[in-house]
């Protein structure tokens, strides 16, 4: 059981690294935004899965999953808001 948790945690940490690398290396803002919101949610999801697998009680597992769902909702709304404000600024510069 612990082996599974260790592997999941490593995969989650890898996706976090990928998200950060994407944030640094991608050329323009929208692609950075795309890479960022996808990668860190997947990383968080894998880490949450690892915690659920090794969690002692059911309540702990449910709470961790709740945190993950909230983080999902948070990052999608952020992605939308940032994309919208970027688009609006670009349109204003084109006028």
């Amino acid at each position: 059981m612990h082996i599974l948790a260790v592997l999941l945690c490593l995969a989650g940490a890898f996706f976090f690294l990928a998200g950060t690398a994407g944030l640094l290396r991608f050329p323009d803002s929208p692609s950075r935004l795309h890479a960022l919101t996808k990668a860190d949610n997947l990383g968080l999801g894998l880490i949450v899965l690892a915690l659920v697998v090794t969690s002692s009680s059911l309540a702990v597992a449910l709470k961790v999953i709740l945190v993950w769902l909230l983080a999902l909702a948070a990052s999608t709304s952020i992605c939308f808001l940032l994309g919208q404000s970027m688009l609006r600024q670009d349109q204003r510069q084109d006028q």
Binding site: H2, A5, V6, C9, L10, G12, A13, F16, L17, G19, T20, L23, L24, S29, R32, L33, L36, T37, D40, N41, G43, L44, I47, V48, L51, T54, S55, S56, V60, K63, V64, L66, V67, L70, A71, A74, S75, S77, I78, L81, L82, Q84, S85, M86, R88, Q89, R92
Partner: protein
């Protein structure tokens, strides 16, 4: 198991430090907000790992609240000054 969780948490903190470069260099405000949102999510992951390592349920509540804070900052930015400019025109 506990030391492993702490190791992964330390690694995530390293990715946060690397993310600081984007905040420093980010040409546009949105890039800085993106990096801040990455810190939010990484912070949630670190808090959850520490909560699992030390069996501190209060830290899980902190992670829950932390996940919401990043949204508030970005919403304030998106709904803030540049929105009002549009209505003034």
């Amino acid at each position: 198991m506990q030391t492993f969780y702490l190791g992964v948490a330390a690694f995530l903190l390293l990715t946060m430090v690397v993310g600081l470069i984007r905040i420093f260099r980010g040409p546009r405000q949105e890039d800085r907000l993106m990096a801040m949102q990455l810190f939010g999510t990484t912070g949630v992951a670190v808090l959850l790992l520490l909560a699992a390592a030390f069996d501190a349920s209060s830290m899980r509540n902190a992670a829950l609240i932390f996940a919401v804070l990043a949204v508030l900052a970005v919403a304030a930015y998106a709904r803030g000054p540049n929105r009002r400019e549009k209505e003034i025109k």
